[in-house]
Symmetry: C2
Subunit: 167 residues, 2 copies
C-alpha cells in the first residue's frame, strides 16, 4: 500500500515552520518577562490565569492539566510549588473524594494582576504588532477550527501502529 506523497505543499510547510518558530519565540519572550516580573514560569502563569478566569477561582487538577496541555505528574509538581508560595490552595473535592480542587488565593490574584499587564504588553508587541484588526480576526477564525479538531482527535494513545485486521 503506497503512502501518499510524503510532502506538504510549500505553502503548508512554510505555515507549519512559521507556526513553530513564532510560538517558540513568543514563548521565550513571555517566559523571560514573567520571570522578571513575578518569578513565574509560563506554566505557572497559565495555571493562575486559568484559575483567575474561573467564576469560582477553582479547578480540578485534571481539568487544569488538560487545559494547559500538561502531564499530570508535572501539574502535581507545579501545584506543589504554587501552594508552597501561597498562590493557590489545594483541597479535596466535596463531591469526589479522590479529586483535588485547586483554588487561587488573594495573593495569587494579586500576583496575577501584577504580571498580567507586562505579559499582555509582550504578546501585543510581538504577536499583534504587525497584524491589523482584520488580520487578527482572520487568524482567530483560522485557529478556532484547528483547535476544535485537535481537541476532538484522540488525545493520547490510539497508536495507529495497531494494524487491526479489519480496519
Amino acid at each position: 500500500m503506497p503512502d501518499s506523497p510524503p510532502s506538504l505543499d510549500p505553502v503548508q510547510l512554510g505555515a507549519y515552520f512559521d507556526l513553530i518558530e513564532v510560538t517558540s519565540l513568543l514563548r521565550h519572550a513571555v517566559e523571560q518577562q514573567l520571570r522578571e516580573a513575578g518569578d513565574l514560569s509560563y506554566v505557572q502563569f497559565q495555571l493562575l490565569a486559568r484559575l483567575g478566569d474561573s467564576p469560582t477561582g477553582s479547578h480540578r487538577m485534571t481539568d487544569l492539566a488538560d487545559g494547559v496541555v500538561y502531564s499530570r505528574s508535572g501539574l502535581t509538581y507545579q501545584a506543589g510549588l504554587l501552594e508552597k508560595a501561597g498562590l493557590v490552595v489545594r483541597a479535596p473535592s466535596p463531591d469526589d473524594e479522590r479529586s483535588i480542587t485547586v483554588t487561587i488565593t488573594d495573593a495569587g490574584r494579586a500576583l496575577l494582576a501584577k504580571v498580567l499587564p507586562g505579559h499582555i504588553e509582550v504578546v501585543r508587541g510581538l504577536l499583534f504588532e504587525p497584524l491589523s484588526r482584520d488580520d487578527v480576526k482572520a487568524l482567530a477564525g483560522l485557529l478556532a477550527p484547528v483547535r476544535d479538531h485537535m481537541r476532538a482527535t484522540p488525545p493520547r494513545s490510539a497508536a495507529p501502529r495497531r494494524r487491526k485486521g479489519g480496519a
Copy 2:
C-alpha cells in the same frame, strides 16, 4: 504615564490562547510520533531536518541554535547525543577556528527519511485537516510578517522597560 488598557481584545485573547493550545497539542502529538518512529525528540528532528535541508548538509552550532530557538548549552547536549548516535558529525570550521560545523551523516539522512512521512502525516492530520487550501494560504500570509517582526525584535536582552527617549 497612563498605561494602555491592560487587556487585549477578546478576539486577540482568543487568537493568542488558541495559538498556544494548538501548538502545544501539535507538539505533543508530533513528539509521540517521532519517538515511536525513530526514537527522536522534537528538537533532534528539527536539527536533522534543518541540516538535511541545507545544500551542504551542514550548519554552524550557533545558526542551528538560533534556527530552532534553542539555548546553546542545550544544543551542545543534543549535538552530543546525535553524534553519539552517528546521525551527525562535528568538525571545526575551516574558516573560523572557534566555530564548529555540524554535518548530517548518511545514517542521519536515512533516519530523517524514515520518520519524515509519519511526521508529515501527523501535521497534516492535525493542523491542516480542517483548513482549506485558501485557509492555509491565509494562515501563511498572516504568520510570515509576525515571524519577521519577531526576528527583528531584540532577541534576548533589551528588556523593553527601556523607555527609548529619542529613537
